[in-house]
Amino acid sequence: MVTIIDYGVGNLGSIQNMLQRIGVASLVTADPKQVEQAERIILPGIGAFDSAMTKLEQTELPSILRERSAAGIPLLGICLGAQLLTHGSEEGSRPGLGFIDAHCIKFNAQKIGSLKVPQMGWNEVIFQSTNTITDFMDMEIPPRFYFAHSYHMVADQEYVLGLTQYGYNFPTILKKGNILAMQFHPEKSHQYGMQILRNFSVWKP
């Protein structure tokens, strides 16, 4: 059972739809008691950093998420949900949850040249190491995912599981123990998205 955190920000419907399609049971909830019982958690999110962080902090969820992740429960942040797992973002002034030693910066306009911001569209993810999450069986690799973002994560190499190039290379999957942060939208990424969510659903960190 995957518990999808509902804090009023994000496309929960599409994550649940995809999990349903791949036969993974899920629960969308805002109820702290249910999150306390969660075995596997997805933190979604779209939008602006401060506005999402404010909404999350209006609930009891930050401390519960901290407790669950410390207990070793697999936790996946998607898009802005991934960025919230870091210490913070140039987009806002509020601190993030800080579960991963990372922060978020705006795309470097000089380095990307004529490319546009936000990055909107499909791009490849190059894995830096292999594990359950990166197993794409006999599918053509590198896998392609859908991105829509103006800010990206930066972290120490030891936490970087996937890199993407958009003008320059930057981390798009971070992993620290049982915590995963994915910049792209697996729930919008056809068969590659289905596979990576399937992998997350059976991942034993």
Partner: protein, 255 residues
Amino acid sequence: MRRVRVIPVLLLHNRQLVKTTQFKNPKYIGDGINALKIFNEKGADEVVVLDIDAFNRKEPDFEFIGKLVSECFMPLAYGGGIHTMDQAQRLFALGIEKVVIGACAISQPSLITNLANQYGSQSVVVSIDIKKDWLKRNRAFTENGKKNTGLDPLTYAKQLKELGAGELIVQSIDREGTGKGYDVTILQEISSAISIPVVALGGANSTNDFLKAIVEGGASAVAAGSMFVFKGPHKAVLISYPSPKELKEKLYSHL
């Protein structure tokens, strides 16, 4: 090799899929849910759904949109009848990735800014529908091409970027449904002046048109209607989408 998005645009009229020519004469194509399912199976990069009745309606047809989204494992943008933050919130909750704003961007520009602040600019797309006025000047039109706003598309595009729009769909009404190719001049004019992605729409007939819109027009993505729903000179209804191999050979490898 650069990947650019190739986006089918589906028009809804009374919950059914239609295709217009120069924003007129809607021709019945088929069932919207089924069409979306097919594009999903073909691995489309993204789909834009526009409800062409909705501008004179108070709100989007949420029930039907919910059904569309459940067939979609790709980004889906929706436009038509979005006037309020609450309506946008409901669309995002259903699983819509981006909202497409038309006339409201003019009547209520603060909606664009509020949406960008709340949901991020990547969630806010504005469509600029362009037609020549009687002096042959390009002007932005709203209400399905009936109302001339008097706005110069380039000036308008710059304002939209400042308001917080994350992407612009630049559509030529004169070319829509004609297969005459995109209006590359206006695409170039707008894309070179603003830093946000421009999506080309109106007139595409081949992957060569895509290439022109990107290379000459500076578009970040290409969209089309007829090309993906009709086949042959008699416009037989056939839903199609280029294969990954075709896109690589005819498009990405030339960028």
